[in-house]
Symmetry: C2
Subunit: 209 residues, 2 copies
């Protein structure tokens, strides 16, 4: 559990930048974040209809990590309204939601004899949400262990290591755009790379230390 | 090139069922197939905003296939109007379009130290289209080699092995729904599995022979 939180979650989970509570209220996009009366984030049931950004297999940010015992794909989706803004501007608007869906990998499924395909079983879902009215960039874990029966989740405390990792290594505004092949060029063109990422690009050998 | 056509293309490419040219014209969905005056299929530039179905790594349908020299992810997308119909009915409407996007896999990218992530470079794109006015299920290859400067492609001849393979092994209507984790349950619930797939499920050991 801890490993999953601290390793796989790095793909999505953002560190908290200085929270900007400006005069502009979060846009009320239909696909934006929604909360319970108690302030828990509601699970976006339709996330599979969001815009797909990438899928990785058995990623790890830990140097010398052991091979995974069970291979896992991690699929990343973003809500369409935020995607449209990013394509135009290279930046994420208030109301941006990322979904990281972890799904088991299978070897010999149907007529596939090599490589890996995605299993029906979902092994974890996490959300990374930008909402100035709810703490800025925040991370919510919808694993079985933390998801309540109503399908909502509390924010992961900002002291979790995933926040710091995203702040230090993510390409754009604490999000790992370096792993989103169709958006990387947008960020480059719009000049929206973080100063931390630009520094890492200059000294890649030191990046994972 | 041949290998790619005959192996990777199996993921998407459908065999031609008896083409039903009934009284119903293909629906003119905004995200459906469009053709040049010469009858070539136009490349759908916005396919990355379609609904994502799955991503596999280094798949092969050839028994005892050698390991791939260069790892490749294959991402599958379907046009949203067709997806909505499938979720309700378990069947694909006229005007369905699948995109198979092949994308290089990278090992040590950014702070990722293990597993594979998706590269910026697209190494191939293929479309599988259901259009009763254009030959029923048909396959179009948009590789550099076959794509003309206007971004359109001729139909792959029906004699290609990919058609027969999809007809013999695909779970629903010549499409590999067995590799689309969120749709497999829909097909099961709606009872839309092909008789060929049901037979393979009974004797999985013989499936890849």
């Amino acid at each position: 559990m801890i490993r999953w939180l601290t390793v796989l979650s790095f793909v999505l989970i953002g560190a908290q930048p200085a929270v900007k509570k400006g005069p502009a209220a979060p846009p009320e996009a239909a696909d934006g974040p929604a909360y319970t009366a108690e302030g828990q984030l509601k699970f976006p049931e339709d996330y599979r209809e969001w815009v797909f950004l990438t899928s990785g297999l058995d990623m790890s940010y830990t140097p010398n990590a052991a091979a995974a015992k069970h291979s896992v794909f991690n699929n990343v989706f973003v809500n369409p309204s935020a995607y449209k803004v990013f394509v135009k501007t290279g930046t994420w608007p208030d109301g941006t939601m990322f979904m990281l869906e972890n799904r088991g990998a299978e070897g010999n499924h149907s007529i596939n004899t090599r490589g890996q395909t995605q299993a029906v079983e979902v092994t974890g879902t996490e959300l990374h949400v930008k909402d100035s009215a709810h703490g800025g960039w925040a991370f919510y874990n919808f694993d079985e262990a933390s998801r309540n029966p109503k399908g909502s989740a509390l924010m992961i405390p900002k002291a979790a290591t995933c926040y710091a990792c995203h702040e230090q290594h993510a390409a754009v505004d604490t999000t790992f755009v370096q792993f989103y092949p169709t958006l990387l060029g947008v960020a480059k063109e719009k000049g929206s790379f973080s100063k931390e990422y630009l520094k890492e690009m200059e000294a890649p050998a030191a990046a994972a230390k």
